[in-house]
Symmetry: D2
Subunit: 226 residues, 4 copies
């Protein structure tokens, strides 16, 4: 667990881009691992559920699920069971991403279950208020991502630095064990440096790397100013 | 495609039972393949998304997803993209299972996309009226499952035969190309025979096999009276 | 019932605009009634749930709910019960509006319940395929509204006339008792005339009237070329 | 506002029972008002949206909505706009009832909007952990209701007193301004006394009164031991 949560951390969300599906997902994971090895930065990847095993079977960097459902084992056709993504090699999961918002009761259930099963939880929030609520639920990470900036190319660390600082502050007050990540619009080394300077311990990002012409170059740039 | 849709067909829904997750999913798929080979009956398995590759990589029987979301490739964290389950080896997908009901517009989108990508679609319905609506959408199969009988052990073919017959009738009227499957409460050879006698071309089932003390014996019994 | 479904019909969806909430909803209903009386055209209004009684208590034109939930009486806090909107004066309800898409099984349940309780059902669809499915469920009206044109000011009757014609055709094939309405982008008399010329029997519209500088003038224009 | 939040308080949730719909809702509100006047206890009623105006127009006790959606005024057909329930006479709203669970981001938005519009917010939670999260969002009340006890007739104050005490404790730590209510299984005067003894400032209940043979007698009993 310690190695998985070592910071500064980069979590690369593969979303459902074709550029990061199937064999291309594996390829992007390989690039991520190369950059992690070359630079020593902790990089985790979050591919689609159907790609977890493909990647975890061949790579050694941390692999996260993008979502799990708030269900226990049983008759739940089509749901994503935490146990299934764990057995497919996931060390943790994103929770409540802005593209997959969850009910409060379900978030609490999934964070608790992840902890019980020794998996890390990356709980996404949209503002300081929901970050405060998230802090009480004791996830491993809170990833603050103002939804309007996701995929915009405008880094939250520049556009709304007060939201990142406010989230870091509130976490110190409510639950200092929870580490803050910074998402939305991050793509360059400067963005990442700004995110860390604001008190976060890493970034959660997607399109800036996944859709880059040269993802390896983009990842190398991202971690260049840490 | 022809082999995949050969009837009579048994589709075994693994749901999210621990008994059919991960390595146990693979084991159940092996059993299913053995029975298919020994008896010549067409048996398909529908494991969880994270188990698709594990099974399709080692087995030759048809593998289906339990659900796909109505999204196209792009920024949809946590969603299940049809392209991803296809690349993980799925030949088709269940749609609108009673444990994962979908919006009408989303059902239409997923059935259409499955057809375009040469995947089979197994559209679940709950009564004759929704079966009629389903027929117009041109899926490969319509699986009629009165929700109150799912997991009950009481076979629909015995408890509500008129729903199966009515679905077969309406399909003949609206779209004779769509094959009818029968679900809910099916577990024995007698249940399956009754289902076929009512005009359906196969069964969709889960707990009767997955939770059986001896799944192979249960599967052999299921197909024994065809 | 006959008077309520007399065509050509205009159904004015009040949505959740402040311009059509509370006292302003009542005012817009008064204007609608005046235009109905002056022109003889059948105009129905669909205000928010909390405004149904305010309007039905003082007006005689047909009042519809914008949505009801697929629940029967019981413990369902926050749901919209058909019986409650009926007792508040609604003669029917919109179902599955593009801003409130419903599951197939729920649509079927609500259409059936509306019919049983002698209320009219206006089932919204997004393309010819879902219109065909809708036809089998036997609503009073199917309102075809390509979502990308809603609120656009570009009338569906001009931008995608083949969708309206196709819906009219499919309705004749599957269920000629169901009347077709045309929605999305409709605002002028010319738009409405085009909609009727394509074979629809009325329009479902909102912003073109609700947000008009002079709603009465806009409504009078809308029905001027019938 | 002060009078509305005076404690001990009884909030009577009408849910979607036929016994508390339409004219029967008005009748139950009258009974509630009589008991409030006779005993001096603060009693608020939460009828269905379509019944808000019917009750608020004739009664003086506080009226709450059962739910509002996380939307601002605009094109949101079928949604429940806070402004609409306010204009229909609601002084506040239940939020996130166990029968209408909401996403975390939506809860935060609705609590905030209610406060901005000087309406009270009664935020329902299912355990101590979600109560802690709720506390950070600064609602007027947190109503703790273990879902398995709702409608059971087994009072939470007896079955799981530690959940009520734990919620009261956590509220004192995180946000002492938030008052705790106690729900689930409450129906008698003894239940209510036990709830207050555990540190809560009132109760949220439904079937115990709504479905009682003699609701007035049941309400009088409920408040008899305060």
């Amino acid at each position: 667990m310690k190695e998985i949560t070592r910071t500064p951390i980069v979590i690369l969300n593969f979303k459902t881009y074709l550029e990061s599906t199937g064999e291309k997902a594996l390829n992007l994971a390989k690039i991520s691992q190369e950059v992690a090895e070359e630079t020593g930065v902790n990089i985790a990847v979050a591919p689609q559920h159907a790609d977890l095993l493909r990647i975890s079977g061949q790579m050694s960097i941390p692999v996260l699920a993008q979502h799990v459902d708030a269900v226990d084992a049983g008759g739940h056709t089509g749901s994503v069971l935490l146990e299934s993504v764990k057995e497919a090699g996931a060390s943790g999961t994103l929770i409540n991403h802005s593209e997959k918002r969850m009910k409060l009761a379900d978030i609490q259930q999934v964070v608790k279950k992840a902890t019980e099963q020794e998996m890390i939880s990356v709980l996404c929030t949209n503002n300081i208020e929901t970050s405060a609520a998230a802090a009480t639920l004791q996830p491993t990470f809170v990833a603050i991502e103002p939804p309007e900036l996701i995929g915009s190319g405008i880094p939250v660390s520049k556009a709304e630095p007060e939201i990142v600082e406010g989230t870091v502050d509130i976490m110190h007050q409510i639950n200092p064990d929870v580490k803050v990540l910074c998402g939305a619009g991050i793509s360059t080394g400067e963005d990442m440096k700004a995110a860390l300077d604001l008190g976060s311990e890493g970034v959660l990002l997607a399109s800036g790397i996944v859709l880059a012409e040269d993802p390896k170059k983009a990842l190398l740039d991202l971690v260049s100013k840490i």
